[in-house]
Amino acid sequence: MARALLETKLHVPRQRRDLVRRPDLGHRLDGALSSPLTLVSAPAGFGKTTLLTQWLAGTASPRAAIAWLSLDARDNDPALFLAYLVTAMQKAAPGVGATALSLLESPGTSTEAILVTVINDLAAVDGDVVVVLDDYHVIDARDVQESLAFLVENLPSHVHLVVSSRSDPALPLARLRARGELVEIRAADLRFTAEEAAAYLNDVMNLALTPQDVASLERRTEGWIAALQLAALSLRGRDDSTAFIAGFAGDDRYVVDYLAEEVLQRQPDDVRDFLLHTSILSRMTGPLCDAVTGQDGGSAMLAALERANLFVVPLDDRRQWYRYHHLFADVLRARVLDEQPARVAELHRLASDWHARNGDRAEAVRHALAGGDFNRAADVVELAVPELRRTRQEATLRRWLEALPNELIQVRPVLSVAYAGALLIYGELDGAEERLRDAEAHLEGAGRQGRASAGSPPVTVVVDRAALPALPSSIALYRAAQARIRGDVASTMAHARRAIDLAPDDDHLARGAAAGLLGLAYWTLGDLEAAHRWYTEASVRLEQAGHLSDVLGCTIAVADICTAQGRLHEAMRTYQRSLTLAAAHSPLRGEADMHVGMAQILREHNDIDAARAHLNTSRDLGEHAALPQNRYRWRLVMGRLRQIDGDPGGALQLLDEAEQLYISDYFPDVRPIPAVRARVLLAQGRLDEAVRWAHDRELSADDELSYLREFEHLTLARILLARGVLGEDCWNETTGLLRRLLDAAERGGRAGSVTEILALQALTEQARGDGQAAIALLRRAVTLAEPEGYVRIFLDEGMPMTSLLQLLAKQDDAPGHVRRLLSATGSGGPRVSASQGLVDPLSARELEVLRMLGSDMDGPEIARQLVVSLNTVRTHTKNIYAKLGVNNRRAAVRRSNDLGLLSRDQ
């Protein structure tokens, strides 16, 4: 496992044999097996955990798979909480959570997306699953609480959550209660009744108390189980039970104070000291206890305490790890703090040392902070940074850094840079630059650390020297990231370049990230060639760094840039390469995006079925396989497919959804959804609404042009064209705008745009009545479009374009692509059947001539119709006769009818 998890947290606590049986509560808990949520909510010492283990061992285990998780304060980090929760489920139901655990390692996946994969896995499990979260009251982090709420709302019906807590969790309890979907066991249910108290004191603890004594103990403790346990321990071996009980019953003291005092007083000094000194530990094992107490025999002592029922709880079956009962631990801690305040810090220091030596950095930090030894805590945090980053525990890193005094972080460049990084992860700019400056100021001092003298600046501290070489480039990189968040392109570029200059050769992550930022900056500026180059470099580096999901993010950028450059095939190859990469590491975040990108290109090729298939694949892969942008990109492409289907209403609805879900992720918005929407409106003849859009966007034909607004200006050109067709005198605006757009696109190397602009110019000339110019322009467009297989760029323009293509097709030297375009319109020239039944099939042009031979047109009429010379018609005719094996017109028509060559046309 990539993440170090404490096995003991997943262990169902061992059931003690000497227990009071509580069949009624057991029956009520059986309701958990038909309920999504069971809540056992009561203060400390009410026997919650015991009741649950009793129930699990009794009725639950045979009927359900059991996942157990004992929570502690560290689980307030959502990444860690999920890792534990999923691992617990996996232990109970093998096969659950493999996807989730791998997603936890890849940056940026939303918690909800991870939970969805878990829920899907659970849905496939046969039989009931009970998931117990013990001590849930330690969770105060909102994002963890929200995860649990999401889980409760979406669990399959055979999965049951059981939560024990000292306070009611932030879950929609009232709603669940109203729906009858909540089993609740509360303090009033858990208190020992008089009978249970008697059974415990006399049958289990063998105290032989009178009914009156039992009754007064029950009254005094109000059935609080922890207090009754303490009372039983106090009474063990006493002759004067009744007198003791009378004294206790007549006292106002907090029952635990009263009884714990009794119990502790009766322990030998060594036991008492052991209890006090080890009380600061959240879990105990022999050697750790020895380190803290400075004595030997910790393991034996723990075993003895367990035998004597002195509030230790075994955490595993091997008797290696224990903890104190929580309530008793608090009593001991308060006592050691009161009696030996000076000793407490030392105890924490010893515990911190031991944990640091034994690999539990989190516990080492906790003890150092608890003991007020901030320097020591900072040392351990510094060493833990790489691991926390790798396992995405930024929440933990941040909490630790916030717990450290500022002066201490300031002199530690490694921590300062880590702090800036932890802030920027959350998109927070405040304070990040200050941290970077602190780091810079101390980086120069890093070489001369440890030589402080009075009056000199604070001494630089570096514990993790291995982290030092990468710091300068990290600082530059974080500055570039800040500049990007602020939208400052020039600074982004300057800092990113500096990061690359400073990064060690093998720091692929830093180099990849910086290259990506440069690619983005160039893209934003419209320098596609440079953008392509840097994004490609970023992909290579990020792949070497193992950040595959980020590689897929770069792929989208690279393919978008290729598309703008008019290199559809290259864009497709880029997606295909990355899809292969993703498939080898599936599920990989971004895999779903590759399919959407491919669908977009296939749509342009007019391969609608294939485009739709890729969109379906993308959707089936699920949200966890998608980057944040995918939700809107999917709808954008699907909307444009709907339009082709002749469902503009459906198209507009999808575009509206896409707009709601739009998230730039810092990519330049080169194809704004409202502009796409305006084009759909225009195609529907809703010119007024399209005009209103252009007005809202303050677009005009005289605007200064830029790559970022090109798509909008091309949309405006279509609106102007439509207005011209309706008789408005705006031709000069239209032609002027298109001429300038063409110039800009040619200079920017955007062949895709050039094709589109030429097509629009052709339509404009045709509408103005200059057919010759229109044909010439369209010929250029089609010639340019052919190698990359552009189809929809023409077809999306509708009938006027179809007519113009038909005219072009009649030209002698019409590009071959025209026929493909016309056949794609389904209304154009003759279709070329794949199986004409001829050795040498007729060309499209020959089929067209053949059809005219079937009419009563004569040669000159056919020549006029096709706008070719009579000689050309004769050549075509001769070739047709040869291919059909006939020698006159009538035979040719009969033969073509026999072969069905013309049957499906027109």
Binding site: A44, V256, D257, E261, D330, V331, A334, R335, D338
Partner: protein, 89 residues
């Protein structure tokens, strides 16, 4: 303008928290130095300055964790010495 200086910290408010049962003096350190005063009605008052709401909630959580039934939480005027007030009823 009478903007307070950047490092301005108002006097923390004084809180009094009452719980059921008599709590031993030895808990003073555990409860961040609050004065622990037992009352004749069988309750205990924990009183003193509490810097902010987070600290107050942390304190309430500690009380919860040792199972002390909570009776009331009140904010009192700084200047009152809650320890010397007679037990009220």
């Amino acid at each position: 303008m009478s903007t307070p200086p950047a490092n301005y910290r108002p006097e923390p408010p004084i809180y009094e928290i009452r719980v059921k049962g008599h709590l031993d003096q030895r808990w003073t350190a555990w409860f961040d130095g609050l004065t622990v005063t037992t009352q004749s009605d069988g309750t205990t008052a924990l009183a003193g300055p509490i810097v902010d709401q987070a600290a107050l909630h942390g304190l309430l959580q500690r009380l919860r964790d040792i199972g002390l039934p909570l009776i009331s939480v009140t904010q009192t005027d700084p200047g009152d010495d809650p320890g010397e007030r007679p037990a009220s009823h």
